[in-house]
């Protein structure tokens, strides 16, 4: 699969990341290298291998449904760049 510079720009757009033409070209080169690596791996014949959804052959452990956390808002918000009325403030994004 080949990636175009437009694909890179679209991904950046979805991620709300601003990149210039130069960065887009550089990223295209890096991503293309990764795709080459994937293609090398995909060349391996796995037709007789059962697909796995996780690299470790173990199953999910479950947690009892209990509230174990207390309010630590002040602690968490002490490292936030901007807060007001208990809310984290971020640049405006409206969908």
């Amino acid at each position: 699969m080949t990636l175009s510079v437009n694909d890179v720009k679209r991904i950046a757009d979805l991620a709300y990341i601003e990149i210039n033409e130069h960065e887009a070209q550089a990223t295209l080169g890096q991503l293309t290298d990764i795709f080459d690596l994937i293609e090398t791996m995909q060349a391996v014949d796995t037709s007789t291998v059962e697909p796995m959804s996780h690299a470790q052959d173990v199953v999910q452990r479950l947690r009892e449904d209990k509230v174990t956390e207390s309010d630590q808002r002040d602690l968490y918000q002490s490292v936030a760049p901007q807060v007001e009325a208990g809310l984290y403030l971020v640049p405006k994004v409206i969908e």
Partner: protein, 479 residues
């Protein structure tokens, strides 16, 4: 041209757990912003999600209640999109191998029954909340809701009208409440529907291009949004246009839907299995245990009411619209075992009417089934008339005389005259005083009979047992 509307529904039901799906934070509604968040909910670096057993249990219960397949293993996936109220940059959801697959729900439209097939139901976490006002060009983020467990329940495109869509949504709502997996509170967003709507020429087998209407949080909005959207699509097509696949929002104030985003701007969610979560396996023994914990389901009760109690499909559907109503009805019926229809009529009539008027739930009904049974048995044994019973009911509702039916009947003098001798005397007096009407009746004027009954009831101040008055009059007149 005749058009057919095709509807599929996705519902997000918030599960009734204590804690979040992947962390031990509380999900209680209405807390101060960001006071119910921890490092996992805030997506701080290095944290790992730990799955809540209570959320899994509730998903399995729904699967069992709709006759679906419970997938084991089922797997969790990351749904990637960037929005400030989703701090991880992805929502943990399920894509391939959802926990619940297939199943169906029977819905009742009038006296007609229809089956709506389910595609799947999967577990996922809710996002936080963005507030866009009041912050001078900034958005305020509250992450209390982030990580709240949701079960997304998806149907096949099986519905053909807004009425069917509403019937489905109501039936599903009553089911999730019935089995206790969701509190069903639509104002608080615990149960919200998205409708996928398309239209096609009647008789066509291929589906038209669909639009998805997001976040309908009342049955009325669901109905109105679908009606508007179907009309809009038909108009576009009849004008020779074509429908663009897109996501639309319903504006209740204007009663219209409008574009939120089109397919071209649609997110590419790049789903992939979440490496932080292992495959979820659900042992058969656990499934059996959950099966045993389920109450008798509404569908089974409905069938029992029709077959064993002889109620109509409509009555059975109304009585099983909520578990609390069905329980009230059954508690009442236990005290009056042969009076299913009378019990049904009073629960659906007087009780429901009064509850609606006062906007309270049946669990807060001031009259207990035992108190109501005491009243209804006085109708049955002829002590009071059906009309007087309504007066007694009103007094009981107001809490008079400790809601004791007999005490109220005595105090208000509502006892019917059922004594044959007393009724005979009244009838004789009326016949003697109305010779003309007696003659009319005997010469074939049936109407005169009703007039005579009226006279007797009037003489008895409305307290004579009408059946006995009728019988006595007939006897005397044919003598």
């Amino acid at each position: 041209m005749q058009w057919e509307i095709v509807i599929g529904i996705e519902t997000h039901a918030q599960l009734t757990t204590q804690s979040k799906i992947f962390s031990g934070s509380s999900i209680a509604y209405g807390a101060m912003p960001n006071t119910q968040t921890n490092a996992v909910d805030l997506a701080l670096p290095g944290v790992l999600p730990v799955l809540n057993q209570g959320a899994v249990e509730r998903a399995v219960k729904l699967g069992l209640a709709v006759g679906a397949k419970i997938n084991s293993p089922s797997i969790f996936a990351r749904k990637n999109y960037f929005y400030p109220d989703l701090p991880k940059g992805y929502q943990i959801s399920q894509y391939e191998l959802p926990i619940v697959e297939g199943g169906s729900i029977k819905i009742q439209i009038g006296e007609t029954e229809k089956t709506v097939h389910l595609t799947r139901a999967h577990l996922e976490e809710d996002a936080g909340k963005s507030l866009h006002e009041d912050f001078q060009g900034m958005s305020g983020i509250d992450l209390n809701r982030a990580g709240t467990p949701l079960l997304e329940i998806v149907t096949e495109p099986d519905m053909r009208s807004s009425a069917e869509a509403v019937a489905y949504a109501k039936t599903l709502h009553s089911l999730v409440c019935w089995i206790g997996i969701c509190d069903g509170n639509m104002q608080e967003g615990s149960f919200r529907c998205d409708a996928n709507v398309s239209v096609r020429p009647k008789g066509s087998e291929t589906l038209g291009t669909r639009c998805e209407i997001k976040n309908l949080n009342s049955f009325r909005f669901l109905e109105k949004a679908i009606d508007f959207e179907a009309r809009r699509q038909i108009e576009v097509l009849e004008d020779g246009g074509s429908i663009r696949q897109e996501t639309r929002l319903y504006d209740a104030n204007k009663d219209e839907t409008r574009t939120m985003r089109s397919k071209e701007d649609a997110n590419d969610y790049r789903y992939f299995p979440d490496p932080d979560l292992l495959p979820l396996e659900i042992a058969d023994s656990w499934i059996d245990q959950l099966k045993d914990s389920l109450p008798e389901l509404p569908e089974a009760r409905r069938a029992r009411y029709i077959t064993d109690l002889g109620l109509s499909a409509y009555d059975a559907a109304v009585l099983t619209s909520a578990r609390e109503i069905a329980d009230y009805f059954e508690n009442l019926l236990e005290l009056l075992p042969d009076q299913a229809k009378l019990c049904a009529n009073w629960v659906m009539g007087e009780i429901s009417g009064r509850l609606n008027k006062e906007a309270i739930e049946i669990t807060a009904c001031p009259i207990t089934p035992a108190q109501l049974a005491a009243l209804l048995s006085r109708i049955n044994d002829g002590t009071i008339s059906g009309k007087a019973a309504k007066t007694v009911f009103e007094s009981m509702w107001q809490g008079e005389l400790e809601r004791n039916a007999d005490a109220i009947i005595d105090a208000k003098g509502l006892k019917q005259i059922s004594d044959d001798g007393a009724i005979e005397q009244l009838v004789d007096e009326v016949l003697a005083a109305n010779a003309q009407q007696v003659a009319d009746y005997r010469s074939g004027k049936e109407k005169a009979f009703n007039s005579l009954v009226g006279q007797v009831m009037k003489a008895a101040k409305g307290k004579a047992n009408p059946a006995q008055v009728n019988a006595m009059l007939k006897k005397k007149l044919s003598a």
